[in-house]
């Protein structure tokens, strides 16, 4: 067996609640179930349509996987090249080992500007390390400008999806969030989507015009030129990237692609997989600061090197955060993202989060899947999530000492490695009783009847033929 040597160093905004328990609470919320089922089934159908249009989807997907693997194989070299390119164009580069270090860098940079408020481009990396909370700690308010992220922020809520953080909310709920959380909002606000969007626009416009410091992430980072790429739907990100005088970009080290040519592949894979669109409305690419702007890039590890060191798990770093696996997952569809208790929910969260933080801090996530395999089918960079889940489960299990489960499994494996023992177990007609006594079965009988144990095993029948 391969020994896992990497020392995970990541934080992950964890709630610490085990998945089964958090899931139970979510499952009891009928409104949530309805909102999720509606949203995910709509986007699933859209994705299937636009993916089906491309005759070379399979090749694109293979290309996406291959490019990412190539980057990951020589990540150190690509990063150095990226840093040189950034520096030569006037961007300051900072390296952060973990969340704490990244936040310290960001806070220092923000503090130096003297601002009390920053505007933010939607970014998973900043959620992962908890930038907003860190800034609040030094008295700086971070304003989310992505509509869904803003809804979550104003509602004092947590994100439930990596692309649509407010997927668990319907229109009526959003109106309430705006009415309570948005200063100066029209009290007669309706739940018409246009009215809601207009309210958000007014609120944000004022921020764009007055706040001078912005924080972004990046969907991709091009090593050869030091370019950063943000892909979005609303255009609010572009406002943040261009208007403020200070731009701080927090970028996970796995976001690199070697060259501009490689971008072409991902700009096809990403929008189709995530929003079910042929092309997203806004793609912003910037190479160095615009005139009069100071730009910083904070390159974040936070458990990524440790993930890279694990041959069974490193493919998780290919992830381009498209959310196709979330939208397709039957578990996610029923529990929503909060149940996962970590920044990254859904199938990718179940493999990525435990790797970034260490399995001991996320031990229930690798089991939060029925291994149905649909996540692998839809993943645009072909991450074999089911196999990775199985590997991680092995790691969770071997980190524990003897448990009733491991004892039962050991006994069963002992019986199953020899036909005579197995026959004795079955032949005594005790299979059902033995199984229900020793294999932990509570949970089964709450909703399902057990089959009647047969009078005769197949083996007995065959033997007597």
């Amino acid at each position: 067996m391969t020994t896992f040597l990497g020392m995970p160093a990541g934080g992950g905004n964890l709630t610490g609640e085990p998945f089964p328990k958090a899931a139970r609470e979510a499952l009891g919320n009928a409104q949530l179930r309805r909102n999720l089922a509606k949203a995910t089934s709509t986007i699933r159908a859209k994705r299937a349509n636009v993916v089906g249009e491309l005759p070379d989807w399979a090749q694109l997907r293979a290309a996406g996987a291959a490019i990412k693997d190539e980057v990951l194989a020589d990540l150190d070299e690509h990063l150095v090249r990226f840093e040189e390119a950034l520096t030569s164009r006037g961007t300051r580069v900072h390296w952060a080992r973990d969340a704490e270090e990244a936040n310290r860098i960001v806070c220092d940079l923000v503090r130096a500007t003297g601002t009390r408020e920053v505007i933010k481009v939607k970014s998973m990396a900043t959620v992962e390390i908890g930038v907003n909370e860190a800034l609040a700690g030094i008295g700086v308010h971070a304003v989310e400008t992505d509509l869904a992220e803003l809804i979550v922020q104003l509602g004092d809520d947590r994100s439930s999806h990596i692309l649509v953080p407010a997927i668990h909310r319907n229109r009526a709920e959003i109106r309430e969030v705006f009415r309570r959380g948005m200063p100066g909002v029209d009290p007669g606000l309706t739940d018409d989507p246009r009215a809601l969007a207009e309210a958000a626009r007014k609120h944000l416009r004022q921020k764009f015009m007055t706040v001078d410091v912005a924080i972004s992430g990046a969907n991709f980072a091009v090593a050869e030129t030091g370019s950063l790429v943000v892909v979005e739907s609303e255009g609010n990100g572009r406002m943040c990237l261009t208007l403020p005088r200070t731009l701080i970009s927090v970028v996970g080290i796995e976001k690199l692609v070697p060259s501009w040519r490689d971008l072409e592949v991902f700009l096809q894979l990403l929008p189709r997989s995530s929003t079910g669109e042929r092309m997203n409305p806004y793609t912003s690419v910037w190479t160095g600061p615009t005139e009069g702007q100071t730009s910083h890039v904070v390159l974040v590890d936070n458990g990524r090197t440790a993930t890279l060191a694990d041959p069974d798990g490193r493919a998780a770093l290919r992830c381009i955060r498209c959310s196709a696996c979330l939208n397709s997952c039957p578990v996610y569809e029923r529990t929503g993202g909060h149940a996962y208790g970590s920044t990254y929910p859904g199938p990718i969260g179940a493999v990525l989060s435990p790797q970034l933080t260490g399995v001991d801090r996320n031990p229930t996530l690798p089991f939060a899947s029925s291994l149905c395999g649909v996540c692998y089918d839809v993943c645009p960079v072909a991450i074999d999530i089911p196999s990775m889940l199985v590997h991680l489960r092995e790691r969770v299990v071997s980190a524990k000492r003897t448990t009733p489960e491991s004892t039962a499994m050991r006994a069963l494996a002992w019986a199953m490695s020899d036909a005579r023992r197995w026959r004795r177990l079955l032949g005594l007609g005790r299979f059902g009783r033995v199984a229900s006594r020793h294999v932990p079965l509570p949970g089964w009988s709450t909703a399902r009847d057990l089959p009647e144990p047969p009078k005769e095993t197949f083996r007995d029948w065959w033997g007597s033929r």
Partner: protein, 242 residues
């Protein structure tokens, strides 16, 4: 042809009728069935629950039990999937290259029942008669691990007298997932609930699939509802004649 039946532990111990149906079907089609007596289980439950190390002797036993067989047929997409896509990898990861190589050999000769009938024997009409309204659930591992596609449906469509009705959201997982059904019982039950609604909406009297495990889950739920819908394995339908 001489066919070695990999009956699977679940069928052996809990659903012997599925094994018997498979034997009768293959014999009716003119093939000789052998049941290597050293076989037990594929070890999938151990592997998928994180006990791959403990599964090693189980895998070894399976590989040795089927050493001499030309073709191996299992009435289970999930177990055939484990043999085909997990055994060699697990053996390699646990440092046994010899076993890995032997397991890869076993994998090549292993077929799920519908694959064997359609691809190897080249039949879709097995001469069955089953005058009932039936809906088919494609189990996740048949569908995505083995990629059996429409083979089971082609076999069912050829059954005389059958009224085959499409299952809504057929390709969505039923929520079984092995130990997932126990470890995440609430989520599993929610998934089962939606699957049962889909089954009931078809007004079928029989729900069929290529895996006894998923049928045990769906059938267990339907029985609790006193729905009167019978779970039957694909082999049990194909076995029936006039």
């Amino acid at each position: 042809m001489r066919v070695a039946l990999f009956v699977t532990c679940l069928v052996d111990g809990l659903f012997p009728d599925v094994g018997k149906a498979t034997v009768r079907l293959l014999e009716r089609l003119g093939h000789e069935v052998v049941v290597p007596s050293a076989q037990t289980c594929c070890g999938q439950m151990h592997i998928n629950t994180g006990y791959a190390g403990q599964a090693m002797p189980v895998i070894r036993n399976h590989v040795e039990a089927f050493e001499g067989a030309d073709v191996i047929v299992a009435p289970s997409g999930s177990c055939a999937g484990s043999v085909r896509h997990q055994h060699a990898d697990v053996a390699r990861a646990h440092g046994d290259a010899t076993l890995a190589e032997a397991a890869a050999g076993t994998a090549e000769r292993t077929y799920e029942l519908s694959e064997f009938l359609v691809d190897v024997l080249g039949v879709t009409d097995v001469g069955a008669y089953f005058p009932h309204r039936v809906t088919y659930h494609p189990t996740c591992h048949s569908l995505r691990v083995l990629d059996v596609r429409d083979r089971p449906l082609r076999l069912l469509r050829a059954v005389e007298g059958i009224d085959l009705v499409e299952l809504p959201s057929a390709e969505t997982c039923c929520g079984f997932g092995g130990t997932f059904a126990l470890k995440n019982a609430d989520t599993s039950t929610a998934m089962l609930g939606d699957k049962m609604s889909a089954v009931l909406s078809t007004k079928a009297g029989v729900v069929t699939a290529g895996d006894s495990s998923c049928l045990m889950h769906i059938g267990g739920g339907l029985s609790r509802l006193r729905s009167g819908v019978r779970p039957l394995h694909l082999a049990q339908i194909l076995e029936q004649t006039r």
